[in-house]
Amino acid sequence: MTRFLPTASAFLALPPLFLLSGRAAAEVDFARDVRPILNAHCTACHGGVKEAGDVSFIYRDKALGKGESGKPVIVPGDPDASEMMRRILTRDPDDVMPKPEHGPPLPAAEAETIRQWIREGAPWGEHWSFVAPAAHQPPEVAQKDWPRNDIDRFVLARLETEGLAPSPEADPASLLRRVSLDLTGLPPTKEDLDRFLADPSEAAYAREVDRLLASPRYGERWASVWLDLARYADSEGLGVDRRREVWKFRDWVIDAFNRDQPYDQFTIDQLAGDLVPNATLDQKIATTFHRLTQSNDEGGTDDEEFRVAAVIDRVNTTWEVWQGLTMGCVQCHSHPYEPIEHEEYFSFMAFFNQSADADLTENLPLLPVPLDPARHEEASGLLERIGRLENESFTRCDEIDQATRWAPASIVQADADKAKLRIDTSAGHPEYRADPNAAGGAVYRLTLTAPASLSKLTALRLEFLPENEESARHTPEWGAILKRFQLQVSDGNGKPKPVAIAEIIADEAHPLFDPNGSIKGSDRGWGTYSKTFGPRHCTIVLAEALPLSPDTRLLATLTNGPSIIASFPMTSKRGRLFLTDDDAWTRHISDPATLERKKHLAAAREALKRIPSTRLPVMRERDPRHPRETRVFVRGNWLDKGELVSPGTPALFPPFDPKGEPPRLAMARWIASSENPLTARVAVNRFWLELFGTGIVPTPEDFGSAGEPPTHPELLDTLAFRFSGEMRWSMKSLLREIVTSATYRQSAKVSSDLAARDPGNRLLARGPRQRVTAEMARDATLAAAGLLSDKSGGPPVHPPLPDGVWKPFVAGDRWQTPEEGGEDRYRRSLYTYWKRSIPYPVFVAFDSPTRELCSKRRMVSNTPLQALFLLNDPAFSEAASALARRMNHETTGDLDAKLAAGYRATTSRTPTPDRLDELRKLHTEMKARYTSEPDLMREIADNPDDAAFTVVASVLLNLDEAVCR
């Protein structure tokens, strides 16, 4: 496939800024040279969305075809015969392209590129990132003693072409600070610095890198990055924004990074861990990834609308996280720039359209996960057992059901409370229908007669039917709950007698609620909660066979469920009943095997219940007997369904072959494959972005033809190839390779010449210097102050929050901050309760997203609000006091020694004498001030010296160096 790769000279091609003239002589490459021109000037009207004049430049066959005018758009080899060329070059305002009202004519150089391309035969070429990466031979370089590994050879070769030299290595303290913050999110401790500075050997740095990668803090740091992509939050978002217990997923991510789970496995577990054969509890926990979509529990919201919104978000997020492509636009029309068709979006959506979750208030399905990870295995075993017993039990019932002859029950009378019923017939079967005003909790009383052929009754079958079975398959109707089912019998004389019901059996193996709840009465018994896609039934088995005579009247009382989401009555609008005299049902309920199974099931459930657990929303497929149809949404409107589609991936990419696996699992494997051209590249680029502040592809959210090309394409491809190959997708190996490169280890000092030449450090002639992330800003402050807790994992915590911020929509949602000194007050930032509608203020100020949607990179801003937080926020003031205490009371030596210790705690560097002078001056001045104003002093400390140290500490925490890495 390398034939599609740009030619060698292309790798030296510079981003637009550095473009040199004189390209025209070389051969034109479609993807590199022509597509960007088309995207900029043509595809808005002649693209995937609009095909004005029946002309499109997205697919070659279209571009070579004839437009509405009948003239060939492009004639390969003959620019003069190509209508495209004529329209670009003409001066006639009625004819010229782009039309004058859409933009100026094409610059001469671009027109010439197109002309040359057509002359060369208009060869089509796939966009670079849609072709699998290959490894490249590292280039020869002149400065042979600089490279430490192959990364450096690629970087240096480019620098040498540019006539630039790399920077010297950063001073050891700065370097250890950089790599510590980058790998663990925390600055080095005093001991770390002392050790590293005392050891000038080559091996010392590698040892520090290994130590950092092995630290439990490593997983916490990289989980923060991943959780932005996963749109992880501890609340549901949208209407009510209730709490959602999903922290076990956060802990799973931390653990996955810490044990260096290979990226391909990491991917499969999150997309389809539930479907992997013999899935472990941890693999099921991983699937919470796609249950982190928003849900809407606002009164009056349509569960299907927000289920669909969640499914769409799963599609978009999957593409954004793993493929670096934006699929959002393909929801409504074909991709404007890439050859991806509208229908293909919905084929991909079909992978996610069979999961059991449905925007339900209860967030079902939920997986009980032990609070104590040590008990995961035990719970896993019990869950496996419960699942197996439920399957066995269902299979047995299904066998009986298949053999049963069900006779339709005639409904001779139907009346109701809180609804109006009528009796109807459909396909020869009697049925009841309720009026549209039927209210929640309506009670139906149906008088039934059995056909003469039945001399006894052993079981009933109750069916709930959608009003329109055709459309319900893809656009479901509101469902119904059978709150209670009661049966009475009468022979026409005397009071009807109750008939005992032994069991209610659902038409699926793992219903969300116990159907037997409908025997005694339950708001969540058997039913089609909350939406119905088709006819569903349950089997109601009598405790003993009931003799029937021609006079027998059966009185069935159906109590409907309540209204949900303050609005929608869970009331059956249409249904029917069937009867049988088959003894198999009666035998079944007393069969020793059934009883044994029930006993084991109850025991396993009880044992599981005894394990203190949290209930985690996870992915689980619906029963395959009751699938949802996936159809194209016409122009993206979910209420306007088009043609039926089946699961598949866009044709542009390597073929999709499920090999008999569940489709979602097969899709996960398709993504996590080294054949996938994007997965490894996108991952490598993300790590690079985190370490250098800019990706090799500067637009990590768009690897498509509208994004920017990589600055070092051979480097990216080689790293991607090796990441999925020899590194076996090990993220730690990749990070080790990058942070031990000479490129990464360069000093960040920039001369004014270099700053002018390469302001964005695209060429990497110096080391990275980035502002810390929101999490680091708080964690590093707590670390410098000696307050940071190193406790890992567990439920979210509630560190200090300024007064007046916490005004949750749900009144009972409390923010309780531990007192000063309490460990949970000082936990790492990623453990902070993350509420979408009330984000933690300091995180927002430092550019963290609110995580309603997948976020691929954080913009770095530099604002006065950040200054106000670091200077005045009570939590930061508390840290300043603690740092002051550390300086003044936990440091031996004179004033300078104390000041230097503080400076080192916040910046990792030893202060120069002029900086010490500055700090000493401030301390002296403050001490004098507080001595002369004891009242003011007492508000901040017990004595003027400590008060002065507190002001100095605040300055140290606010230093530019303290917020940079």
């Binding site: 039927a438 609005s567 964005g760 007492r938 230093l959």
Partner: protein, 493 residues
């Protein structure tokens, strides 16, 4: 040149050198730079951004009519049928079953089955020269109808509060998009560098349900998000110094910080360091300017009487007065949210015959005062005032859960038609644009979608809505989104 100006100039020089070039290739921060440049330049700014040349010079295309906006959002959606959209024929249908054609193909939040029609619950009269109909619930505001431009044909796509509020404020029903205040401050900057450009005031005791997302910056840089002002504690989060630190101590600390940071700049040459010094100075100034502008204590008694304000209290009245003060001080986008207008009839406070009346009382006098006050200060000419909710309410009475009528009268959500009004900068005073059908259920003429309103607002600020774009997720994103939107010419002065 004072220190701040000096730093700012220095910052801009650095930013220019660094970002200008870098952003030739990234295309993102360049726009940010451009608006930085604008904010520091003269007030008269028109932005025209060619997406293929993100760094092209900002050429004026047309002069803005509005310099600032005060947007009054009645959270929960006030009933147009009880305030401005007078429907005498609806009264005749009161208590009758809703005709089937009103129900077919419609989706409702709470109405199930066949509801009853509900006539207007209050008396209407015509007011002013323009003869606009206003109900007896807003006697003070009714005196200002000749300043107002009513749009009675507003439409939205969403009929649940969260998504509908997002659509009004961000142009998208999903979370994660920039609010109009962010777009406008991003495009225009602000007139007073010592105050945030986009400020948000809350009343009614609750935040809107999607909270800060309504004034979030989405994919625009976070510096453009709205700054929520608070009625208790610091007016802006962390504006006050910690205990034991007074202004002179803070000054001394910042002087030392500045000296140390300059040394860092000498060491590394990172232009962000210079920017950071400038931001600390701006923070220092905001610490004074924000509490000053947010304190209404020094307003004369006459003003307090006029607005019905009580210092130190969270109220819509206080927020109206604050809005005027912020506008006076050059804040670009002032957004008020007043909770409590969701009149379903499901409880006393949510009933048109109870809670709704007191909501009307709480806004009537303050809004009237705001309009008078802006007018007498000559500010109505370049200040746009907008009043409205996120959708309208149905002419049918809600029958929640399929039940019967009860003591509390209410209406369900109606995305098909609602009323807003605008007053001031650039809009025709004393007119009504668009109309609903005889039941006030659907738009009968001149529909105005929320997107059209956005296009119109941007127009008033001198932007062509299709050209104020930001590249994100492979698209040139805009406030008006991808569906058609157009400026409502009929309301422009």
């Amino acid at each position: 040149m004072n220190l701040f100006q000096h730093l700012r100039t220095e910052q801009l020089r650095h930013v220019t050198r660094r970002n200008f070039l870098r952003d030739c290739t990234t295309g993102l921060g360049g726009l940010w730079l451009a608006s930085q440049g604008l904010a520091s330049g003269s007030g008269k700014v028109v932005v025209s951004r060619d997406p293929s040349q993100p760094l092209g010079p900002l050429a004026p295309s047309f002069a803005p009519k509005a310099k600032r906006v005060i947007y009054l959002h009645m959270v929960g959606a006030p009933s147009q049928l009880e305030l401005f959209d007078y429907k005498p024929s609806l009264a005749r249908y009161d208590g009758k079953d809703c005709p089937q054609e009103y129900l077919e193909g419609q989706r409702f939040a709470f109405i199930q089955g066949v509801p009853k029609m509900l006539g207007p619950q209050y008396e209407f009269k015509q007011h002013g020269q323009s003869g606009a109909w206003v109900s007896d619930q807003l006697p003070e505001m009714a005196k200002h109808v000749d300043k107002m431009c009513f749009i009675k044909s507003m439409q939205t796509d969403q009929f649940n509060h969260g998504p509908a509020q997002l659509l009004v404020h961000t142009g998208n029903q999903n979370l994660g998009y920039p609010s109009m205040g962010s777009w406008i401050t991003w495009g225009l900057g602000t007139e007073n560098q010592n105050l945030p450009g986009f400020m948000v005031l809350i009343s009614g005791g609750r935040l809107p349900r999607v909270g800060a997302s309504l004034w979030g910056s989405g994919f625009l840089p976070s510096v453009y998000q709205g700054v929520q002002c608070r009625s208790t504690g610091d007016p802006v989060l962390n504006a006050a110094n910690p205990a034991g630190v007074d202004r002179s101590i803070r000054r001394a600390a910042l002087d030392a910080l500045g000296q140390l940071n300059r040394k860092t700049h000498d060491d590394f040459g990172d232009p962000e360091t210079i920017t950071r010094i400038a931001q600390y100075e701006m923070a220092y100034r905001m610490q004074v300017s924000v509490p000053e502008v947010m304190s209404i204590d020094d307003e004369p008694a006459e003003v307090h009487e006029m607005y019905g304000t009580k210092p130190g209290k969270e109220s819509f009245a206080n927020n109206c007065l604050l809005a005027r003060r912020l506008a006076e001080n050059g804040v670009r986008f002032i957004q008020l949210f007043d909770w409590g207008w969701d009149s379903h009839g499901s409880s006393k406070s949510e009933a048109i015959n109870f809670g709704f009346r007191s909501k009307c009382r709480s806004i009537d006098k303050p809004v009237a005062a705001l309009l008078s006050d802006l007018e007498r200060r000559g500010m109505l000419e370049d200040t746009l005032v907008v009043w409205g909710g996120e959708f309208g309410r149905t002419p049918m009475q809600e029958n929640r859960g399929g039940g019967e009528r009860n003591a509390f009268v209410g209406r369900d959500h109606n995305p098909n038609a609602f009323t807003i009004w605008m007053a001031g900068a650039g809009v025709k005073p004393g007119i009504t644009y668009g109309a609903t059908d005889e039941m006030g259920y659907h738009v009968a003429e001149n529909p105005v979608h929320v997107r059209d309103l956005h296009a119109t607002l941007l127009h008033l600020f001198g932007f062509e809505h299709k050209r104020l774009t930001f590249p994100f997720q492979g698209l040139d994103q805009k406030l008006t989104g991808v569906k058609p939107a157009s400026v409502v010419r009929g309301v422009l002065a």
